[in-house]
């Protein structure tokens, strides 16, 4: 349909339309019980790894800080359950390597109510105070990147932010956690948006929502109106909710800004260079709930879905819950699962073991049975036939065909220098469309890693 796309003006050029498979778009968010033990890895986010502040066999209360560091690009962790610290040491992580973790055995019958927290009134508080409070909640980007939120909301000295872009696209197939949060927690979202606007000094906030979620747009607009009718209204500025065309990877911040404002963020630049800060709806909704209560991040909404799950849904899962427990609860006991994907199917990561815990940046647990993977799996890999499908789908306007051939020849320097490999953000569109079944994204990941190592060793 290349011909049609010429007449149909779209938000950003190229991109793909994978089947959406949003099985859980209409199911309510449910709460998961505590597992017997939770494992809180210290390394759950981008930045410095915090250190445990609790001792072995120490009693902890849900919401109590258990790890922290003074480093700016890092966040503290909080105990997800009330119980006893049973073990502090190495445990497997979703990424593969074993990392330092705190294992807490939950008290039987412990309540899921947050017992630790100091409610706070932020009336008249300065931006820096709010940032400090955000730091204390241990909030990171819940969309998947797990970048500390306070760092993302910190505006560099020479820059000025006028717009807060709230990312409610959720362009990954299967995932619906942001969708349900927008529908069910729209008021929390607006509170979170207002805090983020105060922290950054933005005078408007725009919630970008893909147009396959009209109920989310309505819910957020209704919440905006409710907030505007409160005494005092919204002194921070104005908030809009805007539908954007459904297309993968609309949820990438560059693509979303293109859809809303029609501007390209210059290569190598950040949205802040255009006066914008982008944040995920899940993050801001959680912030809106935690910040006034003075609590820490102890749970998150996770989409548990996939063809291999009997009770797919969006669950509020205490952080540190083993994936095995989540899947047992969701009705995927010893299923013929071929693959467990953490995150979305386009950019998520395959879990190496079921004993890894849910972490802050994990938006979904996908159980793939193999039917939907089968043609991926049993398919033959051909040499590149230069069909140009990848060139037609790369949202960054790269040439994955040529890049792939260079990667096969290990011409990594050339890829970086002449073919803009650094611009690739590994969205997976090229691998998705490739009829020759070439693992292009994997080749690019390897190439980027090698280039990084080369740059370090220089």
């Amino acid at each position: 349909m290349k011909l049609l796309s010429y007449f149909r003006g779209e938000a950003f050029q190229r991109g793909v339309h994978p089947p959406s498979c949003k099985l859980t778009a209409q199911t309510h968010i449910r709460r998961l019980p505590f597992p017997q033990k939770v494992t809180v890895p210290m390394s759950q986010h981008i930045g410095k790894v915090p250190h445990p502040t609790v001792k072995l066999r120490e009693e902890v209360v849900r919401g109590q800080p258990i790890a922290r560091t003074s480093d700016w690009l890092s966040v503290p962790h909080h105990a997800p359950v009330t119980g006893v610290v049973e073990f502090i040491g190495l445990r497997p992580s979703a990424r593969g390597p074993w990392v330092e973790s705190i294992v807490i055995r939950a008290h039987p019958g412990a309540t899921q109510e947050d017992l630790w927290g100091r409610p706070r009134d932020f009336t008249g508080a300065a931006g820096s105070e709010i940032l400090q409070a955000i730091w204390d909640t241990g909030m990171v980007g819940l969309g998947g990147a797990a970048f500390p939120t306070h760092a993302k909301l910190t505006v560099p000295k020479q820059a000025k932010v006028h717009t807060l872009v709230v990312n409610g696209c959720e362009c990954e197939p299967y995932l619906t956690c942001d969708h349900r949060v927008m529908v069910e927690q729209a008021d929390d979202l607006i509170i979170g948006i207002r805090y983020a606007m105060r922290a950054t000094g933005a005078v408007r906030a725009i919630v970008g929502i893909e147009d396959n979620k009209p109920d989310a747009v309505i819910a957020v607009r209704a919440a905006i109106e409710r907030a505007a009718h409160l005494p005092g209204g919204v002194p921070e500025g104005e908030i809009h909710a805007e539908p954007v065309p459904t297309k993968y990877p609309q949820g990438s911040e560059k693509m979303l800004i293109m859809a809303l404002f029609g501007v390209e963020i210059p290569a190598g630049g950040l949205p802040v260079s255009l006066g914008m800060v982008v944040n995920n709806v899940g993050t801001l909704a959680a912030l809106g709930r935690l910040l006034p209560a003075g609590r820490g991040l102890t749970e998150r909404v996770v989409t548990v879905t996939g063809p291999g799950v009997a009770k797919p849904g969006d669950y509020i899962v205490p952080l540190g819950t083993p994936i095995r427990f989540v899947l047992d609860y969701a009705g995927a006991p010893g299923v013929a699962a071929r693959q467990i994907v953490l995150g979305g199917p386009m950019m998520g990561q395959a879990a190496a073991s079921l004993d890894v815990p849910i972490t802050k940046g994990m938006s979904g647990v996908l159980v793939m049975r193999g039917d939907e993977l089968s043609d991926h799996e049993g398919r033959k890999t051909y040499p590149c036939i230069k069909c140009a499908e990848c060139v037609e789908s790369c949202p960054m306007g790269l040439n994955p065909s040529t890049l792939g051939m260079l990667a096969a020849k290990r011409e990594y320097d050339l890829m970086g220098a002449q073919f803009h490999l650094g611009e690739c953000f590994e969205c997976g569109c090229c691998s998705y469309v490739c009829p020759s079944n070439i693992p292009l994204v994997q080749q690019f990941r390897v190439a980027k890693q090698i280039l990084r190592e080369k740059a370090i060793s220089k």
């Binding site: 149909r8 073991s353 043609d375 040499p383």
Partner: protein, 391 residues
């Protein structure tokens, strides 16, 4: 329970190489059927033999391990059918076998098989046939001969390594000798006779020795373009550039040059533009490159047709275009996101939903509206309340 680890993306579109090639073969079948209807048994025999030869050669090279791919990917079938369509219907079958072998062996296997070939294999085979069998390839028989479904054209059945018999004697028996051995292009070039438009487009009337029907090929090509199995830019550029050049020359001197319509619909231009120049492996991958490549082929076709000793120039034009492909790709690399002129200037595209300017206060004040050209599915109405919409 064992779980597997694979790298993202974990889902994949179902389009595969085999599927693309199969679709191209299917889209070629109506063209082939009409060709058989035009020329009868000989055309059918030629098609079967040439395709079989291509498949056998492909299998041979796959077995000996010098090339990737397999006959199951259908790419050799496409080569065989296109080669047969580009040869005269009465082409001696043994020569067809040789041409098919050369097409796959020298056009494809030599470079490493599917995806690695530099030149379109079918055209390599045809170029070889043109050089090796100049008489046989120039002798077209008229279409719609009476009795074409019962007897072969005598030249088809030439003994291996023998030159074919002259068909003019045989044609005399059919009382059609005036038309023997001339395609519309050859007639124009050597006799100055222009074929009528109707004859050229549909190939249905008269006994003019035209090739496969251009109208049918266009229809099949449009189907393929909609299935995204060929890039519409290449045929558009070729036909556009050839038509434009021919029209300019025609306007300059209508006596010397035929009209652009004749240029577009005679000979193998449509077949070449839609099925041969668009061969994925030998055409550029960059969108801009496709325009350049197509324009080059269109221009070269007109130049070869008008100014060389040959009546037909599509084949050499496409082969030259194939040769230029790496260079074209090199100079037409796409501009990455964030490096365009728009991004350098920090300017917004027209028609964006929101103004970027920091001085912006209210969307209504700024007069910005959501652009109409975007098709937003299920866009909620501004005054819709929650619960009004069924989930």
């Amino acid at each position: 329970m064992t779980i597997e680890i694979r790298s993202a993306p974990h889902i994949k579109s179902t389009t595969s190489v085999e599927q693309i090639m199969r679709h191209v073969v299917w889209s070629l079948l109506p063209v082939c059927a009409f060709y058989v209807y035009q020329y009868g048994l000989s055309a059918l025999a030629s098609m079967v033999v040439v395709t079989a030869s291509c498949l056998a050669t492909e299998r041979l090279f796959v077995k000996t391990g010098t090339q990737s791919g397999d006959i199951r990917d259908f790419s050799a079938v496409i080569t065989g059918l296109l080669l047969a369509l580009s040869l005269p219907p009465g082409f001696p079958l043994w020569m067809g076998v040789v041409a098919g072998f050369v097409a796959i062996a020298m056009g494809k296997a030599l470079f490493g098989g599917i995806g690695f070939n530099v030149f379109n294999p079918a055209l390599v085979g045809r170029a070889f046939a043109q050089a090796a069998f100049p008489q046989a390839i120039a002798s077209y028989t008229p279409s719609f001969l009476p009795g074409r479904f019962y007897e072969m054209i005598p030249s088809s059945m030439a003994f291996p390594l023998m030159q074919p018999a002259d068909v003019s004697e045989w044609l005399k028996l059919k009382h059609l000798d005036a038309l023997a051995g001339a395609t519309p292009l050859a007639k124009w070039k050597f006799e100055g006779v222009l074929a009528s438009a109707e004859e050229l487009v549909t190939s249905l009337s008269g006994h003019m020795a035209v090739g496969p029907s251009p109208a049918l090929i266009l229809v099949c090509g449009i189907y393929l373009a909609f299935r995204r199995h060929l890039d519409w830019r290449i045929p558009a550029a070729i036909l556009g550039c050839a038509g434009l050049t021919a029209w300019l020359l025609f306007a300059f001197s209508p006596e010397r040059y035929p009209n652009p319509f004749f240029m577009l619909f005679s000979g193998g231009l449509i077949l070449g533009a839609i099925y041969m120049a668009t061969d994925m492996a030998t055409s550029p991958v960059t969108p801009k490159g496709m325009w350049v490549y197509g324009a080059l082929i269109g221009l070269l076709t007109v130049v070869i047709r008008y100014y060389s000793g040959l009546p037909e120039g599509v084949m050499y034009a496409i082969l030259l275009g194939n040769a230029a492909t790496p260079l074209i790709e090199k100079i037409t690399q796409p501009t990455p996101f964030g490096k365009s002129a728009l991004a350098r200037l920090g300017q917004a595209k027209r028609g964006a939903s929101y103004a970027l300017h920091p001085g912006y206060i209210s969307r209504e004040d700024a007069g910005a509206v959501t652009p109409k050209k975007r098709f937003l599915r299920n866009k909620p109405k501004p005054n819709e309340r929650p619960g009004e919409r069924e989930p």
